[in-house]
Amino acid sequence: MSELSRDALLGIVRDVWERHDPVPEHLVPAMQAAAAMAASDLDVELMELVERATELVGARGSSSYTLRFVHGDTDLLLRVAVDGDRSRVDGWVVPPEPMTVRALPGENPTDWSSVVTETGRFELTDLPLGLLRLRLEPHDTTRPAFATPTFEI
C-alpha cells in the first residue's frame, strides 16, 4: 500500500496512457514546423481583410466565396471554391505586380505557389481544406513580403 502514493498512482496513469494512446509519431515534427513557420511569419506584414462574401452554389458539397484584402496600395481579391475535400483559389492582384503567391496550409509544411501573371491573376488548385494563409512575395526584393491573415476554407 505504501508504494501506491499519489505520485506513484499518477505515474502509473501517465505510463498507461503513453502506452495505450501514444503521441502520433509525426506530431512533434509537424508542430515544430508549424510553430517555426508561424514564428517566421511574425516579421511579415499582414494584409487586412476588408470584405467577405459567400455565394452558395447549387451543387451539393460545393460552395464558393470571395475575400478581399488590402495592404498599402495593393488589393488582393480571392475567390475560394470548395469542392468536396479540396479547394481552389483564384486570385487577382491590383495593381498587377510580379510576385509569387504561396499558400501555407495550417497543418502541412508542403506549400503551393503560383506566379502572378501580367494581368495580376493567379490560381492555386487542389488545396486541402482547413486553415490557410497566402504569402505574397514581390519579385522586387526591395519590397517586403506580406501575408493574409489565416482564413478557413
Binding site: 500500500m1 508504494e3 501506491l4 499519489r6 505520485d7 498512482l9 499518477l10 505515474g11 502509473i12 496513469v13 501517465r14 505510463d15 498507461v16 496512457w17 503513453e18 502506452r19 495505450h20 494512446d21 503521441v23 502520433p24 506530431l27 512533434v28 509537424a30 508542430m31 515544430q32 508549424a34 510553430a35 517555426a36 508561424a38 514564428a39 511574425l42 495550417g106 497543418e107 489565416t150
Partner: protein, 191 residues
Amino acid sequence: MSTRTNEVWAQATDGFNRWVAGDPAGLDDLVAAMTPVLWHVVRSYRLSEAAAEDVVQTTWLALVRRRAAIVDATAIGGWLTTTARREAWRVAQGDHRTLPVADEDLEPRIPAQRSAEDAAVQHDEGDRIWAAVDGLPERCRRLLRIVAFENRPDYRELASDLGMPVGSIGPTRGRCLAKLRVALMQTGEYR
C-alpha cells in the same frame, strides 16, 4: 508533482527563454517538450485524433502570436495546457469533427483488437494495470489523466469543463485515486 513532470516544465521554460532571446532552436525544444503533454490533455476531451492534433496546433500558433503577452516564463507550461484545454473544450462542445462516441469510451466494453502476438501476452502485468485505469468511471479517467500530465491544473477551468463545482475537484480527485488504488491492488501487482 513528480520529478519527471517538473523536468518537462523546466525544459519548457528553458526553451521558451532561449526562443524569446532569439534562438529558434529554443522554440523547437519547447514544442518537443510540451507537445506530448498537450496531446494527453487534449485527448482526454473525447476528441478524435485529427481534432486533437488541430487543437494542439492551434495552441502552438496562439503561443507564437501572443508570446509577448507571456511575462512569466516559468508559467509557460501552464499557459500552454490552459490554452489547449480551453480550445479542446470549445471544440468538444460543438465541433462536427468530434466523434459523438469517442473510441476511448468504447474500449472498456469492446475487447480491443489484438494481434496474435499481443494475445499471447495479454495477461501480463501491463494489461492488468491498463484494465484497472481503463475501468475507472469516465470522469475519473479524464480527471486523473489531466492531473497526471499537467503540473498544476487550474481547478476553476477544470471544474467547468467537467461540469463539477470547483470545490469538488480536490475531493473527486482523492476518490478517483482511491478507486484506482483499489483496482490496482485487485490486479495482484501491488501489495
